[in-house]
């Protein structure tokens, strides 16, 4: 238990680094808001190794810090909505026990995009952004699947480590 803060710090740093690495990858999906979601890797792993409360706190801290360093106040708003919705979906799906890491991560990726789209609708006060819905659904599935498979690989290798 006394290591909790230390592990939390390490994971926050790792998530921040992944957020930074992501800004270096020049992939443009042609859709605003679509990105790989590398930092979600850490969220998924923490969700599986500890509990959803820890993962939620980590996402929130990561989003706010990454927003101040690499983004703007707007990007914090979007990412926060996405992160909270994403984590809720992942925690629920994980609890059902019906899905493996990949399924949980797919739900996370898709709901992250949904959260951002909802905020975009509220900010711009137009429903036209719904046009991106299919593209964002597909992108969320693809990136979520990728992150899920990688998470599974990592989790398999760190089975003996305990972070609480």
């Amino acid at each position: 238990m006394r290591n909790r803060a230390a592990f939390f710090g390490v994971f926050t740093a790792l998530a921040l680094i992944l957020s930074y690495v992501e800004t270096l990858i020049p992939i443009n999906f042609g859709i605003p808001g679509a990105k790989l979601g590398l930092a979600n890797l850490v969220t998924v792993i923490v969700l599986y190794k500890t509990d959803w409360k820890e993962a939620l706190l980590l996402s929130a801290v990561r989003v706010v810090l990454a927003g101040f360093i690499f983004g703007s106040l707007f990007s914090i708003l979007y990412s926060l909505a996405g992160a909270i919705l994403s984590l809720s979906a992942m925690a629920l799906l994980k609890k059902t026990g019906l899905f493996s890491t990949a399924g949980v991560s797919i739900a996370g990726g898709v709901s992250h995009n949904m959260g951002q789209l909802i905020v975009a609708m509220l900010v711009v006060e137009t429903y036209q952004v719904g046009y991106y819905l299919p593209a964002l659904l597909a992108a969320g599935t693809a990136t979520g699947l990728l992150i899920g498979i990688v998470s599974q690989g990592v989790l398999k290798r760190i089975q003996s480590l305990h972070f609480t």
Partner: protein, 118 residues
């Protein structure tokens, strides 16, 4: 990977395809124009048929060329709207969030009704 994972992925992709198909069906290919809104309020409507350059409140520059609208310049830091590809299909839009500018393509005429229930 469990079977449920694939079912979930397939379900989401299916939903995406259905929504896309629905959007494509709604596109009737008629005379189009772009509606520009700033902070939720209408700034103006411009026909896609004629080439023109529109200065949106000094923060964004919209260029209409060959029936497509493109954000040529914006003073925002992220430049997402500038990097966005040109839009021409009904319902497509370019959004500049920092400046709260939204450019969306819509059919020029009021949408025709299939029928009205009285």
């Amino acid at each position: 990977m469990k079977k449920n994972d694939w079912l979930l992925a397939a379900g989401i992709i299916l939903a995406a395809v259905l929504i896309l198909a629905f959007q494509l069906v709604q596109d009737d290919g008629g005379q189009k124009e772009v509606a520009v809104t700033v902070d939720g309020e209408e700034f103006g409507r411009y026909s896609l048929a004629e080439d023109q350059r529109i200065d949106i409140g000094g923060t964004n520059l919209l260029v209409i060329e060959n029936g497509e609208a493109k954000m040529e310049w914006a003073d925002c830091p992220d430049q997402i709207c500038v990097n966005h590809r040109a839009v021409s299909r009904d319902g497509e839009s370019i959004i500049c969030l920092p400046n709260k500018v939204a450019v969306s393509v819509c059919g020029g005429d009021e949408p025709e009704l299939d029928g009205v229930a009285r």
